[in-house]
């Protein structure tokens, strides 16, 4: 590997080392100079850090808050403790264990691996239904998971001693085992964040619909992240069990859930650095306050005991952070991300300023067809048996008054909504009931009427994520990074590559959305009002770009717009919708003189007076 992907891997590793090194140095210092109590505090911090990193790997990248991860911690703790419990203790404390388990006394490494595998399988199984829900329903389901697992831990008395203490677990977790696991967890979550899957998941966090439209299998990415994060949480549970030596199900319930969420939210949920520093800040706050609350000597004056100060302090901390920095102390900053890449970029010479190398124009035979599409929304007929076809190399305009069903038709074709009847076929393949990410991979790109970019991702990442999703389809871009840069260069966005997409001006956002849709190498591109809000100069540029695009790539374009001058000049063929019905189809001249079209646009009375279609109409 060389070039941008190797550079990205190096940046990931260096970013992780920025966090790993202080962690390890602090461990050495604590082990050499600190009291046993402080060493324990640091060990517990490392264990909590692993849990927060695990939680962040899912919640941070997917944007779905999880209340259920403490359940995985508990399962990891109990599973491993049953395996490592000394035989004598096992016989007296857990006499009803199945014979197979009753005879086992494993070492920590074997128990560690076995517990992680077990929890990973469990996580995958419960993740299948939960990840399907998405959004708020998924959050509630994770809460349910916490309650159910808590109930199971209490109910499975033969394995767990119910709500009683599970005792006699060998205390094998020390500062070094905890450090080892924490470092590993840091490397894994940092790698996952920057991996193709991680970046696609983050794109879906910013905008799920748009992510699907560029071919991201959101469900699958979520499931991978969920299972990975459950496994990391379980690792923290194994450490905790062998740190405490005794615990009960109440340890794995709301209190710890809230502490973990506090760490994640205070630091900043979306980055590994945020989770890392959240864990540090919350731990430090707790440690300082709990020493103050039992009364300290300040220059000979003994402060009064103020128990409860710790909890109060944490609440104040959350309030301050939420008020001052709603996205967490680190907001969306990943430590070192920007300047490591900048530094690597300088060291390795300027990145290839993509000389616009167009993809060879191959006007493949084929057709995008929509036949007899009908769609009702609660009694309102949005589309009524509409036919539409689009050939590669063709530019078709789709016009009609507001509410005539244009966007609904695009949504049906791109798989976002299912039609009540009718069929969509891409080059002969029936894609009518395919999920939108598969339709995208089948070669249909699209943009949205109200721009849907991944606002917090960089301009480059917006396009590269789409190029990554295209891997595994027929149109494989050789190097997603190079492909993305090439597209940015084509749309004049390369200079802005490292800016967050949300920071672009309106016209640039429109262009970026088109560039992103093209990263999939689609054969058909559906543009929903690409010129909306553009001034005449900008829309002229767009016109030129789109015409050139067709000439170079042989792509088929379907363009919805209210800018009649743009449509009339650009399109080979125009389809007119009114109230869900196709009322006309033909060349610009044919459509302009069609009485039904004139009537639909300007009303019967004025049509009789001989008015013509306005050439530019704002979006109302």
């Amino acid at each position: 590997m060389s070039g941008p992907s190797a550079q990205r891997a190096t940046a990931t590793l260096l970013g992780a080392l920025l966090l790993v090194i202080p962690l390890a140095v602090a461990a050495v210092l604590f082990a050499s100079f600190a009291s046993a109590g402080l060493q324990r505090t640091y060990t517990l911090f490392l264990i909590n850090l692993v849990a927060v990193l695990g939680l962040g790997a899912f919640s941070g990248n997917s944007g779905i808050l999880s209340f259920g991860h403490v359940a995985f911690i508990g399962l990891g703790a109990y599973a491993s403790a049953i395996l490592t419990l000394p035989l004598a203790t096992k016989a007296s404390a857990l006499p009803h264990l199945p014979t197979l388990l009753a005879g086992l006394e494993w070492g920590l490494p074997a128990a560690f691996v076995a517990s992680l595998v077990l929890v990973a399988v469990f996580g995958l199984a419960v993740g299948l239904p939960i990840m399907r829900m998405g959004g708020a329903a998924a959050v509630i389901a994770t809460l349910g998971l916490l309650l159910i697992v808590h109930g199971i831990l209490i109910g499975a008395t033969d394995f767990t001693r119910g709500a009683n203490a599970f005792l006699g677990v060998p205390r094998l977790t020390n500062i070094w085992t905890a450090l080892g696991v924490a470092v590993l967890a840091l490397l894994v979550v940092r790698w996952f964040r920057d991996s193709a899957a991680g970046r696609q998941l983050r794109a879906s966090r910013e905008d799920e619909t748009a992510a699907k439209a560029i071919g991201v299998d959101v469900l699958r990415r979520r499931l991978v992240a969920w299972t990975l994060s459950a496994t990391i949480a379980a690792a923290s549970g194994v450490l905790l069990a062998h740190f405490l030596g005794a615990f009960s199900p109440s340890k794995f319930y709301f209190d710890d859930t809230l502490t973990l969420l506090t760490m994640l939210i205070v630091g900043g949920m979306t980055t590994v650095s945020g989770a890392f520093f959240g864990a540090i800040v919350v731990t430090l706050t707790i440690e300082v306050l709990r020493r103050v609350e039992s009364g300290v000597d300040v220059f000979g004056w003994e402060t009064p005991e103020l128990f409860g100060l710790t909890q109060a302090g944490l609440c104040v901390l959350i309030l301050i952070v939420m008020y001052r920095r709603p996205a967490g102390m680190f907001a969306r900053l990943e430590l070192g991300e920007a300047w490591i890449r900048g530094w690597l970029g300088r060291a390795g010479g300027t990145p290839v300023a993509a000389a616009s190398t167009p993809v060879a124009a191959d006007v493949a035979p084929g057709l995008l067809r929509a036949d007899g599409i009908t769609k009702n929304f609660a009694g309102l007929r949005a589309l009524d048996a509409v036919d539409l076809s689009l050939a590669p190399g063709e530019i078709v305009g789709l016009i009609g008054p507001n509410g005539s069903g244009k966007t609904t038709l695009v949504n049906v074709i791109s798989g976002l909504i299912l039609p009540d009847s009718g069929k969509v076929a891409v080059d002969g393949a029936d894609v009518t009931d395919w999920p939108s990410f598969e339709v995208a991979r089948a070669g249909i790109g699209r943009t949205f009427q109200n721009i849907r970019l991944f606002g917090q991702l960089s301009v480059l990442d917006n396009v590269e994520t789409a190029a990554l999703a295209a891997r595994g389809t027929e149109a494989v871009p050789a190097d997603p990074n190079a492909r993305a840069r090439e597209l940015l260069a084509r749309f004049g966005l390369l200079d802005l590559a490292d800016r967050p997409a949300s920071a672009l001006d309106y016209g640039a956002q429109r262009r970026l959305e088109i560039a992103r849709a093209l990263a999939l190498n689609p054969r058909y591109l559906l543009l929903d009002e690409p010129a909306a809000g553009m001034n005449p100069t900008e829309s002229n540029e767009l016109l030129r770009d789109l015409a050139a695009l067709r000439a170079e790539t042989g792509i088929g374009l379907l363009v919805i717009d209210h800018d009649m001058s743009l449509i009339m000049r650009l399109c080979d063929r125009i389809v007119v919708l009114n109230r869900g019905e196709k009322i006309a189809e033909g060349s610009a001249a044919e459509v302009q003189s069609n009485p039904a079209v004139i009537e639909a646009y300007i009303g019967r009375k004025r049509a009789r007076q001989g008015a013509s279609i306005p050439t530019s109409e704002g979006v109302s």
């Binding site: 202080p22 009683n164 005794a246 710790t310």
Partner: protein, 394 residues
């Protein structure tokens, strides 16, 4: 940023390490209290510590234990959390405490036991009645309250003495304490009684109609119902039981000795429960309660604070006996204590393997007031052995 955060972390670490170092004279008894000041367990530990402090203040006013060992208490909040409890326990051990007071929740005591045993420091639980503490305490952890098995035996003696022969149990396998009826059953059978049925419940269960219906339909009706349910389960159960017209006598554990129970009125009339103590006029308990009211400006709400006073007296006796604040000597003296006069009773540890030998007060609720039925230690021959796995005892 990293460097800044890191040096801040180090600086905090160093200054915190310094905070812990407080010099004490050699003859000061430094007691580390790893207890719950906040969280669900706090309502149990707090009154015990109130009673304890009353006695410690008395002792220090007289120059300390035996006039020469002043007492210092270093309290750390475990926030009712197992992991935090392990940390504060370790911290107190690091500070070189001479002995420890540990929390009421047996699961947390078990969790801290490894550290305490490893450091060879004697520890007493504020109010845990679990007879299994010594199993993980290995000679270093002592109970203070009357243990579940002894209460169960006292309940059996009382019930059998009343002529009851058929008992019905209501218990929850969720925690150790709510399994006390199993100890009762063991002792009751030894005496010649019989258990005719039982119902299981979950802690925090809001509705007991299924259990009540089952009891109501029993033919013949049992002579007595035995339970160690406590708030909020006990009030819910007894209301529904009496509401359904079941008048079978009920015997309960010390967990119902709270203001809530006495506010239940007719529903608890005639209910009998076992307890560590009872304030007879002119008794040490009554004298203690006067002192308590003088200090805190209100009468005690339950027996818990008196247990704290007992705890202080036990510590006083052990240190006096050892004539030293060395942990090893205190432990040996503690394990051999006999007839220490506390607020609630005379307490002995000799031969008890960490559990106290105390008389058990059997108390009946009449007109919303406590009436003493009997006050004695149950016959050792019928006291069941502590059992970590109570479900297996079935």
């Amino acid at each position: 940023m990293t460097r800044l955060a890191f040096s801040a972390m180090l600086a905090a670490g160093v200054s915190l390490a310094a905070l812990g170092q407080t010099a004490f004279a050699d003859d000061t008894l430094l007691i580390g209290a790893a207890i719950s000041k906040t969280g669900w367990d706090a309502p149990y530990d707090s009154p015990v510590m109130d009673g304890l402090m009353l006695a410690i203040d008395e002792m220090n006013a007289n120059g300390g234990i035996a006039g020469k060992f002043p007492v210092e208490i270093e309290t750390r909040d475990n926030r009712s959390d197992n992991a935090q409890n392990a940390i504060v326990t370790q911290e107190l051990v690091d500070e070189g405490v001479n002995m420890m007071i540990v929390t009421c929740d047996s699961s947390m005591v078990h969790a801290g036991a490894q550290i305490i045993v490893g450091a060879q420091i004697p520890a007493i639980s504020t109010c845990s009645s679990s007879p299994t503490l010594p199993l993980s305490g290995d000679g270093y952890i002592f109970a203070n309250a009357v243990t579940d098995n002894v209460q169960g035996a006292a309940q059996a003696e009382y019930a059998f003495g009343q002529g009851y022969r058929k008992a019905y149990l209501l218990r929850s396998p969720d925690i150790e304490y709510s399994q006390m009826p199993l100890y009762f059953a063991d002792a009751f059978k030894k005496l010649g009684g019989e258990v005719v049925g039982e119902s299981l419940y979950s802690l925090g269960q809001p509705d007991f109609s299924a259990e009540v219906t089952k009891i109501k339909e029993l033919q013949p009706q049992p002579d007595v119902i035995v339970t160690s349910a406590f708030e909020p389960d006990f009030p819910a159960f007894i209301r529904q039981l009496r509401g359904a017209g079941v008048t079978v006598p009920l015997v309960a554990g010390d967990g119902i000795d709270s203001p809530t129970t006495f506010a239940l009125g007719d529903a608890v009339e005639g209910v009998v429960f076992t307890s560590s103590g009872f304030a007879e006029p002119g008794s040490p308990m009554a004298a203690y309660q006067e002192k308590y009211e003088a200090k805190y400006g209100k009468p005690p709400e339950s027996i818990m604070d008196a247990l704290g006073y007992d705890l202080a007296k036990i510590i006083e006796a052990a240190v006096t006996q050892a004539d030293s604040v060395e942990p090893a000597k205190i432990r040996d003296a503690l394990a051999n204590l006999e007839n220490v006069q506390g607020a609630t009773a005379e307490i002995s540890y000799k031969g008890g393997n960490g559990t106290p030998t105390r008389p058990v007060a059997v108390i009946r609720i009449e007109d919303g007031k406590r009436v003493l039925v009997s006050r004695k230690a149950p016959d050792p021959a019928i006291v069941p052995a502590p059992n970590l796995d109570l479900n297996a005892a079935q």
